[in-house]
């Protein structure tokens, strides 16, 4: 049983509260984009909503969930108390204050700049300060994760760090590296401009700094799902982790390859050279490797479970898996959506091919499949997996949990699949109105209505999810007590783990070299070229 349950629950409930509100906005946005008449559909409201939806999902849900889950892993996998829980609370409070600032500025219409806030559009400075506070709060979490692992290693010499914790620390380090780009953008360019200290900004520089963060942040969001794939799903399936060493290798590869690739978000930008675009495209191919390794390792781990449960033949083990367990079901659904999200991503990263889809609904489809689909469904499964432990109560209903997961996956497919061909036929993202009377796009109408239906399914699923968690808290504690969360054991335990795969010093050095090679010149370029700057366009006050 973990000790700091209140701390962990505070983080996770904050994450899911933001999620619950943001998903309602998402449904309304689908409604506005569709040919059906939606209430309150003005551009003011629409872009306010898109900013709120994106910020809540991408910054609040993720950051708070990852922090809360990290604290849980640190206690349950290391079986030791958290270092400095008061500091952890301080990080939480910083994050809450930041979130309140972001919510207040967005809802009052002072920050309709999207969660990507590309200058020279500029919001109220409080919006950016709120984001900074959320990030600073998460830095405290990073430090605590690193300290927890270091202490454990001192106390347990010669024993490898449990995989779940090793991966959590990999994520903490990845996040520290990731935030450097956006922190530099905010502190040196965006916030001074928002306060009015500077009247102009170097737009190319801000885009480049943001791209530094823009891709690796996705891996920050994704790694908790991968921790569940490696350490929770095989256990729930009655299997074994196929290879502990390969799992460690995958998380290290995420750390190494997730960072020096952000320029692939700027393939269609005029301010970067074909040279660096090519280099970062090649590096982007490498980042598919840890995911493809994971697909294999986790499948092999599940196969062990299926065979131990009597599955025969080449694929008979699939049917023998305990699909009634939410963690197993979620993993299966997650992998299914990962195929579509991964496919979209492969097109996006393919240099010239990016031109077909850049900034169209295809891209929205890609990250809804990957993040909203594969990753968030694992957030659900993780919550279901650890809630008994956090509340001391058994799950009230696994049927409702399974129904919720199914509805989420189906809803996500129904909503996001059409965006692929709509995007290919020129439907751009972040647009509220389409001229459905135009014969060249009138065929979009039924697909857009389908997306609204999918969005509705997601809202129902989200409601069920919240209900499923709330009902834990009201469940009477019976005689049966949930046991501690067990992490999957390796198929071949006792294999000595090389020191390099038990720490991060070497890998940090590699990241430094890779980032220097990938980003030094693309950033320095703006100080050499000195491109003319653009005047700040404030959205938070009368022109």
């Amino acid at each position: 049983m973990t000790i700091n349950n209140r701390l962990i629950l505070a983080h996770l409930w904050t994450a899911f509260a933001a999620f619950g509100v943001a998903i309602l906005l998402g449904l309304w946005q689908m409604w506005v984009r569709s040919p059906l008449a939606a209430p309150l559909s003005t551009p003011d409201n629409y872009y306010l909503s898109v900013t709120a939806h994106g910020s809540a999902m991408a910054y609040v849900l993720t950051t708070f969930f990852i922090m809360g889950f990290g604290y849980f892993v640190a206690e349950s996998a290391l079986k030791q108390a958290l270092p400095a829980p008061r500091l952890a609370w301080a990080g939480f409070v910083l994050g809450i204050v930041g979130t309140v600032l972001v919510v207040a500025t967005v809802l009052s219409g002072q920050a309709s700049v999207m969660f990507t806030f590309y200058p020279p559009l500029s919001a109220s400075p409080l919006f950016y300060i709120g984001l900074v506070l959320v990030v600073v709060g998460s830095w405290i979490w990073c430090a605590l994760m690193i300290v927890a692992m270091t202490r454990w290693k001192k106390a347990n010499p010669g024993t490898p760090v449990p995989l779940a914790m090793y991966a959590t620390v990999a994520n903490a380090i990845l996040w520290l590296w990731t935030t450097v780009g956006v922190a530099a953008e905010l502190l040196f360019v965006v916030i001074p401009a928002a306060f009015g200290w500077t009247q102009t900004v170097d737009v190319g520089l801000t885009r480049t700094l943001f791209s530094w963060t823009l891709h690796a942040i996705v891996y920050f969001w994704l790694i908790p799902a991968y921790i569940a794939f490696y350490t929770m799903a095989p256990q729930a399936a009655g299997g074994r982790l196929f290879s502990d060493l390969m799992a460690r290798g995958s998380f290290i590869l995420f750390l190494l390859c997730g960072l020096p690739v952000g320029l692939h978000h700027l393939f269609m930008d005029p301010e970067h050279s074909s040279g660096f675009k090519t280099v970062q495209m090649m590096l982007t191919v490498l980042v598919a490797v840890p995911t493809l390794l994971t697909v294999f390792t986790v499948t092999a781990s599940m196969e062990i479970g299926g065979r131990l449960r009597g599955g025969k033949g080449l694929l008979g083990w699939i049917g023998a898996l305990p699909w009634e367990r939410p963690m197993v079901l979620a993993t299966g659904l997650s992998f299914f959506m990962l195929w579509f999200g991964g496919f979209g991503g492969l097109i996006n990263m393919s240099y010239g091919m990016n031109a077909m889809v850049h900034n169209t609904s295809w891209v929205s489809a890609h990250f809804h499949m990957i993040f909203g689909g594969s990753v968030v469904i694992m957030y659900f499964a993780i919550a279901y997996h650890i809630w008994p432990n956090l509340t001391g109560r058994l799950a009230p209903s696994l049927v409702l949990q399974r129904a919720q997961l199914w509805l989420w996956a189906i809803g996500m497919m129904v909503m996001s699949l059409p965006w692929h061909w709509l995007g290919l036929s020129g439907q751009v993202r972040r647009v509220a109105q389409f001229d459905y009377a135009d014969p060249s796009i009138s065929w979009w109408a039924p697909w857009m209505i389908m997306s609204v239906v999918g969005g509705g399914m997601l809202v129902i699923s989200a409601g069920m999810f919240i209900w499923n968690l709330v009902s834990f808290h009201f469940e009477r504690t019976g005689a049966a007590k949930p046991g501690p969360v067990e992490y999957a054991r390796a198929l071949h335990p006792g294999v000595p783990v090389p020191a390099a795969l038990n720490g991060f010093v070497l890998w940090n050095a590699f990241v430094l070299v890779l980032m220097a090679a990938a980003y030094t010149y693309p950033i320095a370029q703006f100080f050499i070229l000195k491109p003319p700057q653009a005047v700040v366009h404030r959205v938070d006050r009368t022109p």
Binding site: G238, T299, E303, E324, L346, L424, R489
Partner: protein
Amino acid sequence: MDTIKESGANIEEPASALLIQPVPSGAFALAGAAVALLLVAWLVMYFFTFLPRGPVG
């Protein structure tokens, strides 16, 4: 009302060693098929959408 019985712990080590194949053929088949399909889908996009849309640069 069903509950989760903590899984995994009920498997005896010697039994698992006997049951598990040295080569995870099922994983190779399933994951291999998925990735093969992925490559096919990518090539379809490349040849039937990307190339017909014409040169740019």
